[in-house]
């Protein structure tokens, strides 16, 4: 869907002054703070992070300023206009083909020397430019200052210091952009010969590098550094060949431990809040207004049973995204290519591949897109085939439900095993591809390690919220819709018992496929079908069916003391918060010492009756391995084409089925037929 801005940018007609529109493109090295500045300028909330390659597609925003409509497009980071990776191609294309009115060149001031090579190359294009000397705070700490007057005199480009973290100086970019546009201030490099680097240039590129070096020496001012460089000291430990690996394992362990233990009390609380409080409140209110039984049934079964059930897991999802965002914003994620390169080599990939894989732990969709940073198309293909096996929070929701129910004592172990299985299958897939379709040597790699940065809580909060909102949105739309449809289908044909309903018939039709995995119950097999849309839909689906079968909550709630019950919820939340914090500081993973709540207990019992531990494992494995959701399929098709995406579907179903089969049958043998 080409946006207005895209059309505007690609139109080659000169700007008509009466339209008063300026089209600005943000260009700069990776991780220089381009997206941060765009967010500040237009109030958007695009993802930022402290590693190169956060933005892999164009992002657009608009701001009205002094009667002008300033349309700004943010681009992936580039070092030169000679792109290699796909994300760089996107940026270079926009800058060279579409010719924006103004280029906003964002520079990481502490690394000005490196940034200027791009600035010089951009300046050659003759498009009015403004330079944002970003990260002025860090430059100051490092004792570096830039002489903006000298810079302007030598280049014809206005340069302004900015601080993306605080927003300082950011608004001042707008008048500078307008001025550059209105007066058509084209860059004019006036670098004297004696300022150039002493290396004899052998090509145009060399000459450019020489000019950049000369410019750098002419504008940089060194002062006393105001802080000590922490980064080098921390890297001594975290990048140590042995210590670094130990630290990595510790980080991953803490990631899971805190995700589980901190969120568990909150999940208990949400569970009680939704089914015990909201559910009863709703039934109570509906009873008061004399709603027909069908409506009460719909609310308690489809809304509370289906959607509410899934929403219970929000604390888990929020905690996980919070920790992942911390890893990314601190700068640790950017170090993993260095640390884990050896392991990735064994898979036929270079270290860079580790970043999309780790992002997959958050959500597979952006992870698949992040493969655009890979320089080789074959690496990208292999990586795209691996990512969906990285388990995401949506699948974790399903795992934690089943693990708790069937392996209460060993829930954490079972969940860990699921994650490990996903990684193993990803590894196997890449080894298989390495040996067959994609025989190749490992691609060389160069990657810059950003300094460690203390994440701002607000930025982290915004990012976490955007993920949680996505999950809630899915619960409110997709899962709600599926719950409603199931609810209706379970009641169809009219008057039929659930086990004779349409859903039951569909479920029974696919039983033969899943019978060898121990999945014979129509309620289970039918829930596998909508799980293709999103994993947690399976739970919402089952929740609805079982809630209907229970037919429990339709009796009116006579006594509902709003004040007392509300107070109870608030107190409960406080206790949950305390428990969460306490659990984080304990050794080992405690995972969900759930107290059964009245209302959900019935549901749990019902699920327990339709599985054995063995078939529950098989069910989890299927949901782990078979594709990951419709969204991932869509983005795979976009990134690598339908042929590979369909190929992956087939492969993942095959692997999922076979592994589930082996596990289920082995479990049966070991446990003696259970």
């Amino acid at each position: 869907m080409p946006s207005q801005l895209q059309e505007a940018l690609s139109a080659s007609a000169p700007v008509q002054s009466d339209r008063r529109i300026v089209r600005v493109a943000i260009a700069g090295n990776p991780n220089s703070g381009k997206t941060t500045l765009l967010n500040q300028l237009v109030g958007s909330r695009f993802a930022v992070g402290n590693w190169p390659g956060v933005t892999v597609e164009r992002k657009e925003g608009v701001v009205d300023f002094q009667g002008w409509r300033i349309e700004i497009v943010d681009l992936p980071g580039i070092y030169t206009l000679e792109p290699i990776a796909e994300d760089e191609q996107i940026a270079a294309d926009c800058l060279t083909r579409e010719r924006p009115d103004v280029i906003l060149n964002v520079i990481e001031t502490p690394r000005l020397e490196r940034a200027l090579t791009l600035t010089v190359e951009l300046a050659e294009r003759g498009i009015p430019m403004v330079v944002a000397l970003n990260m002025s705070d860090e430059a100051q700490r490092a004792g570096l200052a830039v002489d903006c007057e000298a810079f302007h005199a030598l280049t014809g480009i206005r340069a302004l210091p900015t601080n993306g973290r605080t927003g300082q100086g950011v608004r001042e970019l707008l008048p500078a952009i307008l001025e550059a546009h209105r007066q058509q201030q084209r860059p004019a490099l006036r670098i004297a010969r004696d300022m150039l680097s002493e290396v004899e240039p052998q090509s145009l590129a060399d000459e450019r590098l020489g000019i950049a070096e000369g410019l750098y020496r002419a504008v940089i001012r060194r002062r006393e550094p105001q802080g000590r460089a922490l980064t080098a000291a921390v890297d001594k430990v975290l990048l140590h060949p042995v210590g670094g690996l130990i630290a990595y394992l510790a980080v991953m362990y803490l990631f899971f431990k805190i995700s589980f233990d901190f969120s568990a009390p909150f999940m208990d609380w949400t569970d009680g809040f939704i089914s015990g409080y909201l559910g009863r409140l709703a039934t109570h209110l509906l009873g008061l207004v004399g709603a027909p039984e069908l409506v009460v049934g719909f609310v308690s079964e489809a809304v509370i049973g289906g959607v509410g059930f899934v929403v219970t897991f929000v604390p888990l999802i929020a905690t996980m995204f919070f920790l992942l965002t911390l890893l990314g914003m601190s700068g640790y994620l950017a170090r993993l290519p260095f640390l884990l390169d050896r392991f990735m080599n064994w898979l036929g990939l270079n270290g860079k591949a580790v970043i999309p894989l780790l992002l997959g732990l958050g959500c597979n969709v952006p992870a698949v897109m992040a493969t655009r940073t890979m320089e080789s198309r074959r690496d990208k293909l292999v990586l795209v085939m691996m990512i969906p096996f990285m388990s995401c929070p949506a699948r974790l929701v399903v795992f934690s439900f089943f693990a708790l129910l069937f392996f209460a004592q060993h829930a954490a172990l079972v969940i860990f095993a699921m994650y490990a299985l996903g990684v193993l299958v990803a590894v196997a897939t890449s080894l298989l591809l390495k040996g067959t379709l994609f025989k190749r040597s490992v691609a060389p790699m160069i990657i810059e390690l950003p300094p460690y940065r203390l994440p701002r809580l607000r930025t982290v909060g915004t990012i976490v919220w955007s993920h949680v909102r996505e999950f809630l949105y899915r619960a409110g739309t997709l899962i709600f819709a599926v719950s409603v449809i199931v609810w209706a289908l379970v009641h169809l044909p009219p008057g039929a018992k659930p086990q004779d309903s349409v859903v039951a018939q569909i479920g029974r039709a696919v039983v033969p496929v899943f019978q060898p995995l121990g999945l014979e119950d129509w309620r289970v097999t039918s829930s596998l079908i909508p799980a293709f849309l999103a994993r947690e839909v399976a739970l919402g689906f089952m929740g609805t069916i079982f809630a209907v079968e229970e037919g429990s909550n339709t009796e009116t709630v006579e006594t509902f003391d709003l004040v007392a019950e509300t107070r109870e919820q608030v107190v409960g939340f406080g206790e949950a918060a305390l428990d969460g914090v306490r659990a984080v500081f304990s050794l080992g993973i405690q995972t969900f010492a759930t107290e059964d709540d009245e209302t959900t207990r019935a549901l749990r019992e019902a699920v327990r009756d339709s599985f054995t531990p063995g078939s529950a494992l098989a069910f989890m494995i299927l949901l782990l391995l078979y594709n990951s959701c419709l969204g991932v399929y869509g983005v795979m098709e976009k990134e690598v084409g339908r042929r590979y995406a369909l190929g992956f579907l087939g492969w993942s179903f095959l692997v999922g089925w076979v592994v589930a089969f082996v596990v289920y049958q082995s479990w049966r043998l070991i446990s003696g037929g259970a």
């Binding site: 030169t80 502490p110 490196r114 090579t117 890297d235 260095f338 050896r342 160069i446 390690l449």
Partner: protein
Amino acid sequence: MTLDEAKHGQVVRVVQTRPELALRPKVQAIGLRAGREVRVMSRNGRMLLVQVGEARVAVTADLARCIEVQ
């Protein structure tokens, strides 16, 4: 010699980056180019961590082999 032969802690000066290097424009733009001083900060298997100016850069040994230093 080439950059991959440089020892931990050693400071070397780049003589040239070989033209056959596929990532050459990027490598040069990041700072690994003729005339620049490079300090080897750490090594880990096939990876080298070097300091170029204010930037910390990780490169693979096969890439470092295409960078002549002295």
